[in-house]
Symmetry: C2
Subunit: 345 residues, 2 copies
């Protein structure tokens, strides 16, 4: 059996020398190396920015969506959207564990797990499309995937429905970071606060700002804003198109009496909201870009362009304990759990 | 006289509603609005990532470089490289000050200034190319530019040569951030530490880490590494191709006895070094991406992909006092000043 690198570089076909995530093509042959785990895949949860792009390209047509997904995997050996660069995650059952991992992993063959590393670096083979739930970015398939030694995962909890856990785990980095970054007394703006990651961020932020702080939810549709309001997730709600930087700036200014946000969390799934985040944040404030549609140069040069001294953080999908924090919200909050079961369950 | 928005949105032609930086095309007519400043341009300092791309496209040919630059300005009304998204900055003389700025600015007509906002949002007209200094990304032109009300600038200091000041101010954000982020005892890796921004970062980092810390300089050519070594800018030097993530990881591991970097500063001008930065940094460490060639998704998904809990910061070109901090280095360090005069003076 062939020996593998912990990071999976042994599977990189092109360009040589890079890691699987930035690679253009990786080897998705399903014979495992000594330190790999083979997964029998059940469901793919495509990253929201990626699936939005695919749906647009397919003009909503399910067969076209499948074709695009198939092409991506055929070309790259992994489900990495060439336009957004992003992936998503999956759930499946452990089918084989490489002998080099013995004593190093607590996984057993037969365990149902969610991978917490992006599909954009996961060797994947799709054999058949079963069900496509296009409103929640989930696709049931027959297929296999490989988890590298350095890859992280969560064993699916027994007390939560699988699809619910999958949806929540997909965005687990966001609430965990919100919990870390928000301080008592902070004014927090969550752009895309009405979405899957956004509502979890609102919940964590609200727990932390206390009575002197303020949490502001930004969404773009009446329905989603009403949903967040109904669950009492924030102190204030704004319905606005998040690409309109000046419009949101003015509303945040009004609601914060000119102070602006101490912390802005960006959870949208559309491009061109960097300036909106920058203008909504106070000088020396902090912006957490969880959105995968964020452009590095637009953020860096946008802040400089208006002379704004803000700290801007790249939304690392992983932070210690993120899976536990996110799943715990579903146990803590009856209201949120109901919403997530309805939307993603 | 027409009234302008402080952020310059009145000059955005396409798409409507966005700010000048993300805009595809802005109006570069040189009749000023009431809150604008007209600059008689002397020199453009093109962003290193952008100029590297332009030089490659032109295969080093000066006439082709001029043609590409001309096309960029003709298409966008500003010098924003469509491939890298980045700009650069300029020096010139204040020619007109809009009446709405009276009492609000300390600039006078005739002042020689450097704009500290990116060329990627600055209305620019190029009338004639004078001299192209292609090794240091500088181009002398005849032309005009507009500074918006929110735009930041520095009056050129009398005690430093102009081109030197321009070069240093171009990357002023980097040393100022290094000064903020590095703590006593830290192990600091500066990737691209041999370059213009990199050497300034090494200098600030070395001041701060103290005797218990360690500063490691990474460059890719013998000459540039020897230069940094000659100036005693770091404690250790590594010559390696920064796109080779595993190679640098191994060297940093060796030099830090397995601890890895507390802070990694990325100052390269080439793509595909996100994973290199991530693997060189310890868990719960910090990465500052100053490089404009950074990809947001490669950073976010790369860190997640190897389960690395690192804080990644987008290199905002602006932070309070950045111009003063950067220029001060040229006064403090005889050695660095000599190097910068030789390279960029
Ligand atoms: N960093 C990571 O590791 C990581 C991991 C997973 C996902 N992500 C990214 O996180 C982002 C959000 O994911 P998600 O699953 O939470 O997405 P989601 O549930 O689809 O939510 C998208 C949000 O964006 C809002 N939005 C869309 N268009 C808008 C507009 N024009 N104006 C204002 N708001 C708008 C939506 O609000 P309305 O419904 O009110 O329009 C909604 O709140 C995506 O970009 C995804 O790629 C990142
Ligand atoms: N965030 C902002 O606001 C802002 C403002 C200005 C500039 N920037 C960005 O900052 C970056 C650096 O700018 P600069 O003016 O300092 O550039 P520079 O002087 O050209 O330096 C580039 C550095 O990258 C290194 N490098 C290039 N290829 C390499 C490789 N394959 N392996 C290892 N090192 C390599 C060079 O080292 P060797 O010479 O040893 O090869 C040098 O140290 C650029 O990406 C630029 O776009 C950002």
């Amino acid at each position: 059996m062939k020996k593998g690198c912990p990071y999976g570089t042994h599977r990189v076909i092109e360009p040589k020398g890079v890691l699987p995530q930035p690679a253009l093509k990786i080897d998705n042959d399903m014979e495992i190396y000594d330190n790999e785990i083979l997964i029998d895949v059940q469901t793919l949860n495509i990253d929201s920015a990626s699936f939005t792009q695919i749906k647009e390209e397919a003009q909503g047509d399910i067969e076209k969506i499948k074709e695009i997904m198939k092409n991506i995997v055929a070309t790259r050996g992994k489900h990495q959207n060439p336009v957004t660069g992003s992936g998503g995650m999956l759930i499946g059952t452990v089918e084989k564990i490489g002998p080099a991992l013995e004593g190093k992993t607590d996984l057993k063959v037969g365990d149902k797990i969610a991978t917490l590393v992006s599909l954009s670096l996961t060797p994947l083979r799709i054999d058949e499309f079963l069900e496509t739930r296009k409103d929640i970015d989930q696709v049931d398939i027959k297929g296999k995937a490989i988890l590298f030694q350095s890859g992280i995962y969560a064993v699916l909890p027994k007390d939560l429905p699988e699809n619910l856990a999958l949806s929540v785990l997909d965005v687990a980095g966001a609430p965990a970071q919100a919990a870390k970054l928000v301080k008592p007394g902070d004014y927090v703006v969550v752009i895309g606060g009405t979405g899957k990651s956004g509502m979890l961020c609102l919940y964590e932020a609200k727990k932390r700002v206390g009575v002197t702080g303020k949490v502001i939810c930004v969404g773009s549709t009446d329905k989603s804003v009403a949903r967040a309001k109904g669950a009492n997730l924030a102190d204030e709600y704004i319905k606005v198109d998040a690409t309109d930087a000046l419009a949101l700036h003015d509303k945040v200014k009004e609601l914060t009496n000119g102070r602006m946000a101490d912390v802005t969390i960006n959870c949208v799934n559309i491009p061109n909201t960097e300036m909106t985040s920058i203008l909504s944040t106070k000088n020396e404030g902090l912006i957490y870009f969880f959105s995968m549609a964020t452009s590095f140069t637009k953020a860096a040069l946008g802040a400089e362009g208006v002379g704004k001294d803000v700290t801007m953080i790249v939304g690392n999908g992983y932070t210690k304990g993120h899976a536990e924090i996110a799943l715990q919200i579903m146990r803590e909050s009856e209201t949120l759990r109901k919403i997530y079961e309805e939307l993603y369950g």
